[in-house]
């Protein structure tokens, strides 16, 4: 219980600090953020957008791992865990897409410009949209688990191709991408100590939040199944 209160306080602090701490040219006080040329006030998105993108990757990766586990062991619990992870992945994926698009409107001038990362996240939305559509079309639990696991495996092997071909086909605008004119990853060089601290606190807070949500999610699904079974048996 203690850690839940602590998590609440941490995320509250990150949200307040991330939004309200001022950005100044030469930060001297502990709560001031440095000015990153080309990003200015827009830089504050990093405290919310990057964690959601990071959790999208973690959640989908966990979903794939549990799909793989299901194919090996045929334990339906693994399928439920994979499903719970993918659901959260979808939520964070949509959040990352929307926060990114809003930010892009102010930083690049339009909501969508087929930057490699925008295209990649779009591909992820397509893959998991298809995955959920496949699952909802199958009645039998076992068949649903097997076929959706196979589909995640096939989708997983296409991921490296996206990584290789995206930068060739379209040029990158995203901070940290190879042809970013500000050169160099934002996280390491352009943030000062307190900005990095809040950034990493935010990453940790969101990650813990994700694992908590995932845990509650799959346990409630398992309970629901057990309850259904009891009701049917009478």
């Amino acid at each position: 219980m203690i850690w839940k209160i602590f998590l609440f306080l941490l995320l509250a602090f990150v949200s307040v600090a991330g939004i309200s701490f001022p950005i100044v040219e030469n930060p001297t006080r502990w709560y001031e953020f440095p000015l990153i040329p080309g990003l200015e006030e827009n830089a504050k998105i990093i405290f919310f957008h990057v964690p959601t993108a990071w959790l999208t990757v973690i959640a989908f990766l966990m979903s794939t791992i549990y799909s793989f586990k299901y194919l090996r062991k045929k334990n339906l619990d693994d399928d439920v865990k994979s499903y719970a992870a993918a659901q959260l992945g979808m939520i964070f994926c949509i959040l990352a897409t929307v926060t990114g698009a809003v930010w892009a409107k102010f930083a690049w001038g339009s909501y969508w410009s087929w930057d490699p990362r925008q295209t990649s996240i779009f591909a992820l939305l397509l893959i998991y949209g298809a995955w959920f559509a496949l699952r909802s079309s199958i009645e039998s639990e076992e068949k649903r688990a097997t076929l959706s696991s196979v589909y995640s495996m096939i989708a997983f092997v296409t991921v490296p191709f996206f990584i290789f071909i995206m930068p060739r086909i379209m040029s990158g605008l995203h901070p940290g991408s190879a042809d970013d004119s500000n050169a160099g990853p934002v996280v390491n060089f352009k943030m000062n100590g307190n900005m990095q601290l809040i950034f990493f606190l935010s990453m940790i807070g969101f990650t813990v939040l994700y694992f908590w949500m995932w845990n509650v999610g799959y346990r409630s699904m398992l309970l629901k199944e057990k309850l259904d079974k009891k009701l049917i048996r009478g």
Binding site: T146, M153, I154, I169
Partner: protein, 221 residues
């Protein structure tokens, strides 16, 4: 093993000649898709690079209209069990793959011929590059379509879900193939296109390996 897969392919081929499940639909679809583009373009002059992209749009949707038949027809008629009783999963997948590869080559050749006849802007400068990317692109298209068709058939969901599931899987292949077609239109040399060619070839190899590894799970409930 190869002769068994070939026998299965022959069975499908003869069956196709008698029932014309896929061929009629595919032929009509090609005509419909190309006419839709022709009508929507009207008298506008379209650029060479746009024709290259639209070429793959026609190919994708035509493939989606016909290639699922390989497995869906067995599942619909209930003959899956008979196949399971006489052949190992790899034989079944190989047989269906041969059938789909031949279908893809036939259909894409027809599309390419009709397409270049209809669009003046669609002029290939480096024909050899086009041919190479066409061959490897077709193989990749056939492999991915076949494994997704197997999933669709077992899911009992016909038509609508097929393009939805296949598109994200085919996306890297289509993006690269569009790029290669544009290179061929612009007459770019092999040397400069070798990265994209390598992508398409490795896509074929990886998808083929993954499909053979995963087909057992789909086929054996």
């Amino acid at each position: 093993m190869n002769s068994k897969a070939y026998s299965l392919f022959l069975k499908d081929f003869k069956s196709e000649l008698r029932t014309r499940y896929a061929i009629n639909a595919l032929a009509m679809f090609i005509i419909v898709a190309i006419s839709v583009i022709l009508f929507s373009v009207g008298n506008e002059k379209i650029s060479a690079s746009l024709t290259g992209g639209l070429f793959w749009v026609v190919i994708f949707f035509t493939a989606m209209s016909g290639l699922s038949r390989a497995f869906v027809s067995e599942e619909e008629r209930g003959t899956t069990l008979a196949l399971q009783l006489v052949a190992a999963p790899t034989t079944v997948f190989s047989g269906k793959l041969i059938f789909n590869i031949i279908l893809v080559f036939a259909m894409n050749t027809v599309i390419a011929i009709l397409y270049s006849a209809m669009f003046d802007a669609f002029v290939i400068q480096n024909f050899l590059l086009f041919l190479t990317s066409f061959v490897f692109g077709n193989i990749g298209l056939a492999v991915s379509s076949t494994i997704i068709a197997a999933i669709i058939a077992k899911a009992g969901a016909k038509g609508t879900l097929y393009p939805v599931l296949a598109f994200p899987i085919l996306l890297p292949l289509i993006l690269t193939s569009v790029q290669l077609t544009l290179f061929a239109i612009d007459g770019i040399s092999f040397e400069r296109a070798k990265f994209e060619l390598a992508i398409v070839v490795s896509y074929d190899v990886i998808m083929l390996t993954a499909s053979y590894m995963l087909f057992d799970f789909i086929w054996k409930e």
